[in-house]
Each structure stands twice: as structure tokens, then as C-alpha cells.
Amino acid sequence: MSDTPEINTPTFAMVRTLGLVAVICGVLIVGIYEVTLPAVNANKKLALERQVFKVLPTAKSVVPYFATANGIVSAEGQDLVPAGAVIFYAVYDAANKLAGIASEASSSGYADQVRILYAYDVDKQVITGIGVISMRETPGIGDKILTDQAFLKNFEALDVHLSDDLKSLANEVKTVKHGTKTSPWQIDAIAGATVTSKAVGRGINQSAQSLLPRLLPNLDKLTVKAQ
């Protein structure tokens, strides 16, 4: 090195250097954030739509909404979720008619949070399909929730209808031991992957309990796609 620094570097030099480095780095970070933001948002939207189309095959477009204690508001273009609000997606078919509702459920599984997306049929008040958003369950064991046909059969018509006062589910969604399912609101666990199966059931129960009582009284606002 040509100019070996002195043992006693003046404080000013250190402050100046750190300031300079911080400014260069700050400009770089802000620049890249601004440049990539539209692409990142478009990617997120695309990824969500792909998931939704998987659980609701007739879907053509997806509109995000917040369900709050006072009703539902459109979440289009909003990044921040208001306190206490639940986000859900109104899904429309080619004729802009409501094809179903999709929402996210998550609960801790064996390794990490198991995040799933479920489709809800508003007429029959049942869950008609699930897809996984993210999970880190053991390959070959926990990830059977995606492939096990007998398990997926639970979600062809999982009963989540509300009680008469519309305050909560009439019957809690519950995962039961493999082979002991007796009611349409129970989920038959996969033998050997009980922890992950239970996470799915718990997640759906929590999400449905908080979302559906707010959603059902306001369904008329959603039947046709808002332009």
C-alpha cells in the first residue's frame, strides 16, 4: 500500500470515510429499490394468481379485499394491511361473476409455518380446494399434503358453514386421526404426517373463524366484479 495510515488517524477522516461509504451505499440501495419495485410487485401478483387459479380452475381474475370489523374494503394497490383486517381474494370468472373466495391460512407445522391457500364456495359454504403457498416440511413425509389423494379428498367439500348468529363456524374444522373421519367438517389426517395434517386443519379453522363472519353479511358487494 502506498500511504500506510498513521496509527492515530484523525477522527474527522474516519467520520468522513464512513459518511462517504454510507452515502454511496444508500444511493445504490434506493436506486435498485426504485428500479425493481414494479417488477417485484408484478411478480407477486402473478405468483398469487397462479396459486388462485390452481384452487379455482374457473377463475379469470382476482381482486384483493380487506375484511375489517366494519365491513369489507378493496385492497387493490394497497401494501399495508390495516390493523385487525384479514386479507382475502374475490375471484371472478370470464363473465365477471363471483366464482369463489380464496384466502390464506397458516399454522406451524413440523419444520416451519405451513402456508396454504384455500378456495371457498359462497353458495354451499364449503371449502373446495387447497394449495400450498410455502412450507418447509420433510420431503417425502410432510409434503404428502400436496399429493396424497385421500387427503385432498377432504377438501372437495369441507363444511365451514356459520352458526345461526353468523358469529362463528357452526362446527370447528378439526383434523382427526387417520381413518376416524365421521363428519364433513373433519379432516382425515395422513398416517405418518399427522403434524402437517393438523397444521392444515388448524390454519383453516383460524382463518375461516376470523374471515367468514365478516365476509358473509357483505357478500352482495362482491357478486359482480367492481370495475
Binding site: 500500500m1 502506498s2 500511504d3 495510515p5 488517524t9 477522516a13 474516519m14 470515510t17 464512513l18 462517504l20 461509504v21 454510507a22 454511496i24 451505499c25 445504490l28 440501495i29 435498485i32 429499490y33 425493481t36 417488477a39 417485484v40 411478480n43 407477486k44 402473478l46 405468483a47 410455502s134 420433510t138 420431503p139 417425502g140
Partner: protein, 211 residues
Amino acid sequence: MSAPTSFDEFLSGLWKQNPIFVMVLGMCPTLAVTVSAVNAIYMGLATTFVLGASCLLVSLLRNSIPKQVRIASYIVIIATFVTVVDYAIQAISLDVYEALGAYIKLIVANCVLLGRAEAHAAKNPPLPATTNAIGMGLGFTLGLFMIGCVREILGAGKLFGVALFGDHFQPWVVMVLPPGGFFVLAFWLIVFAAFRHISNKRNVQVQGAQS
């Protein structure tokens, strides 16, 4: 310091001083993200970019950074480029971003980076510093790729997502679990050590014959 030619500088990271198999640095991503060949390549390229860009900046600023604050400056510079890569990958593909998870952000803690900045970029002009850093990065990518290939082939029966074996193949699940990373890393370390042993022996014999 004797200045080797740029190409030697480049090759040293790729082979002679390979960060994974020779220096055994950066083991956290090496074990964590190598469950498939594609993940390994993305992780390697992300690291290469951070390495190249931060070494260039460190080298440019090397004469104005006082010794007492150098580590702080290097870490801020490295963290900046990690953030840049983090946003870039989100913009390119969310699937890759999900697959690599927290390990993109953890590039900042990869000791290959601070090691290169401190041991090489801070003492060399921009061109050799960047060449060396990119060589190191590609060496790191090569190492990750070699581990990722073995783990994907044995653990999933696939390579780059294409099934290699018939339906009768039963995947070795352990290979995509954390222990599999250690097994495969150990396997490659043995292979490399054996290589070095043989070539050292041969060099000794050649020198013996010449004298």
C-alpha cells in the same frame, strides 16, 4: 507483493484456492441451499456478483479507508450489494427467491466475502481485485453446483428438474435433508484431497528424477 497475471489471478479462485474445497469457507450456504443444481447455480451467481462488486468498490476506496474503520466499511459495502441482489432476484423470479429463502440475505455473513475484501481487494488495484473476486465467486459456484448435482440426482432422481430414472427409482430422501449436505461435502473433500495427494506425490517424483 508479486503481481501474477490476471488469468492466474482468475484461475486461483476457481481451482487452486477454491473457496469450498480448498479453503472450506462459506459452509452455511454450501450445506443449506444445495438441494438442487439450479438453486446452487443461482446462489453461486448471486454470491459472485456481490463478491465482484464489493471487491471493486473496496479496491477503489482502499486508499481512503482508515485502518480503524475498515471492517465496518467493508461490511456496509457488502451488505449494500447483498440488498441489491436480494431485490434483483425478487424481480427476476419469486420461485427462486422462495427456494433460496433467508440464505440470500445471509450472503453478508459469508466469510469468503469479508476474507476477499480484507485479504485481497484492500491491497490491490481494481482490475486484479475484481478478477480475483470473480474467479473466487465462480469457484464457489462450481463447488455449490457439484454438491447440488449429486444431491439432486440421488435425493430426487432428477437433474435440472428432468427425471433421470424410471418409476422404480426410490429417492434417497436423506440426500435432500441437512445430513445429505454433510455426506456429499465430505465425499467431494475426500476426492479433492486424494487428487492433491496424488499430484503432490508425482511432483516430488518428477523433481527427484530431475535432480
